[in-house]
Symmetry: C2
Subunit: 301 residues, 2 copies
């Protein structure tokens, strides 16, 4: 028997842009869905489709076989899992707790330890693929934690994603996501510097992207976000402030491991200028503003 | 009538890994090929296929309708084109001069000016795609210079490449190649930092590349060179010392344009450590050595 054929009671906490779509896929898979979110209105259509509202993480945990969360910041994760009125303290015995927030590997390990003390298991399972991946159920999901629980939860992951990888013990999912964000950070610097150079040199940015976009310079960031930069479109796919949160976690982990990542440090510093300029709700491609004097005061790098 | 149907006398200077394959494609297109290279032995098989050896750039220029060069460094380009016994001084009237070396945009403009004074035209046409692209005739070729000459030379470019773009006036081809190298530089930093973080965090690098390689972190550098890094394979596709030459040209141009490119500066500095460590003939993916204490003395970033 697997969850795919078994109707389970699944609790979902956090119905933001990502969580709302993901919870919908769980519901569509036929499970008994309980939901909680900071803003109740975000649950309206899920409730209309048969989900049930629960008034707190603790109440949700007390009713569910599996608890899934995707919230904003590590502090939120810590509160909903580890506080006295949190999930770990109130979950049913043998429940599987799955945090899909991009959060710190150390916190993932602390939740796993606290869960184990109560006969529970937890998985850290951050995602990549953004709003579109969440909507289409094509997220990449990177999982750390007990392999037995991973296998039990796999059908739920398959409802939400198309690339599901068990990376290792508790924290390994978060570490994988950190490596993903580290790879993105300097690649975005690369794209902004190439486009900024091109503009200064009098080249058409669109033509440049076409000329170099199929070779060794190609990247998701260049090919997908480069054209947005060339068009002056800084609307968010992924918010600057979320990316800065992720880079800060990665830098803290790197420090802890005595690892020097000068490219990541540089990227983090450049993005801070965007935050200082009030552009924290732009998309990550807005890093180009730092190079183009579009920070408001004509301030460049 | 175009060059594709017209047999032209084409001179080719520089028969290194790239030039040798490229000259072979010109020969295969049916042109009367004259060749010159620093090392005559590199011409042997082309001569066996009907090319003719010429003893100097000047002698070659005096016999050819089109002169193509791909040599090592801007100083080499300057010498073969602009010295008293160089190509510009000895070329036939109306000849088209095409330098495909990755070289400086400023030098490309000086050659164009000197050529124009003698009734010649020149194109700067650096390539990307490496050894494989040269062998298979699938290079990306980025061209600056007079559009009429570009159109006349297009059939020759089509023998060597599959993505041919006229980017603008003299120097625009080199500027495009610089933007390409700028995009590669920080992307390689991104890949090395992600893999270095993954290793420190206890993740399997191959598994990481598989987990993140299809999403927002994907790039040619991650997907093609990442697995080589994970396998400890630092054999050259593109030499460290050539990449450092290119980054130095790009930084000099950026300085001239009062453009600050901190990511490129950082990458240039990290690659300098490789050169200082004696790894200048490694492939560019050897940047990972800087992060992994593989510089010989256990020296890290």
């Amino acid at each position: 028997m697997t969850l795919a054929t078994d109707r389970k009671t699944v609790g979902f906490i956090g119905l933001g842009i990502m969580g709302h779509s993901m919870a919908g896929h769980i519901l569509a898979q036929g499970h008994d869905l309980r939901v909680f979110s900071r803003t109740r209105a975000k649950a309206d259509d899920l409730l209309a489709r048969g989900a049930r509202w629960v008034d707190s993480p603790a109440a949700l945990a007390a009713e569910c076989d599996v608890v899934i969360s995707i919230v904003g910041y590590p502090a939120d994760v810590e509160q909903i899992y580890l506080s006295a009125d949190g999930i770990v303290a109130h979950a049913r015995r043998h429940a599987i707790l799955i945090d899909m927030t991009t959060s710190s590997p150390g916190l993932a390990r602390r939740i796993a330890d606290a869960a184990a003390e109560r006969g529970l298991t937890s998985l850290d399972a951050p995602v990549s693929g953004g709003e579109v991946g969440a909507r289409d159920g094509t997220l990449a999901i990177m999982v750390g934690g007990d392999p037995v629980s991973f296998n039990a939860a796999r059908p739920l992951f398959e409802a939400m994603g198309s690339k599901i990888t068990h990376m290792g013990p508790a924290g390994a999912g978060q570490h994988t996501k950190m490596a993903n964000q580290i790879a993105i950070a300097s690649t975005m610097v690369a794209v902004c510097e190439a486009l900024s150079y091109a503009k200064a040199a009098g080249l058409e940015q669109e033509k440049l992207l076409d000329a170099i976009g199929a070779g060794a310079a190609s990247s998701f960031q260049l090919n997908v976000l480069g054209p947005k930069i060339a068009a002056g479109d800084f609307a968010p796919g992924f918010f600057v402030h979320h990316f800065v949160k992720d880079m800060s976690i990665a830098l803290a982990e790197a420090d802890r491991m005595k690892l020097n990542l000068p490219g990541l440090s540089l990227a983090r510093g450049l993005y801070q200028k965007l935050i200082d300029g009030g552009f924290d709700e732009d998309g990550t491609q807005a890093l180009y503003r730092v190079y183009s004097g579009m920070l408001g005061g004509g301030d460049a790098v």
